[in-house]
Amino acid sequence: NAGVTQTPKFRILKIGQSMTLQCAQDMNHNYMYWYRQDPGMGLKLIYYSVGAGITDKGEVPNGYNVSRSTTEDFPLRLELAAPSQTSVYFCASRPGLQRENNEQFFGPGTRLTVL
């Protein structure tokens, strides 16, 4: 299993450009999450999905959109990039069943700079 994969690893965008951050998992997990990580701020939840066709907002959803057409893929869309969206983006997934450790499995991250 590849686990959670993210592409691209790095990207530089100009203000106002748009892009899609890709996330895929091959573990047949129901739940998927998108976080952003800024220095000294921990991880903030952007959007999440409990299954194909179902998405919901997290703590910091403004400026982002998501879709979940399959169990495996959960892309994150930035429509009008702004410097405030410069961050490291992590995708994570977890199985649907209740588990004692509530572990989420993280991808390697996408480092995005908006200039």
Binding site: M41, G42, L43, Y48, E100, N101, N102, Q104, G109
Partner: protein, 112 residues
Amino acid sequence: QKEVEQDPGPLSVPEGAIVSLNCTYSNSAFQYFMWYRQYSRKGPELLMYTYSSGNKEDGRFTAQVDKSSKYISLFIRDSQPSDSATYLCAMSLLSNDYKLSFGAGTTVTVRA
């Protein structure tokens, strides 16, 4: 007030020292408590977890949860240079779609 507070450090210790990390939280309904380890330019990985109050030991690592004080701790004994990483505390409710609330992360450097 942030939901989860964690001192970002950084923390620098000599090899073999005990590393002590902690977080405080405001939501008394949290039931799952976790510590993730994140190496530089990598994604976080689950290191320890505790359900509700109590202590848990795994090799050189000990996690403690004190729900009455809303305080959790992670201790690393006999620290090694390979323990140099950022340690993030995380916690969640029993349900609520298993969403995690993270602390800011503490960066630890173990000097050889």
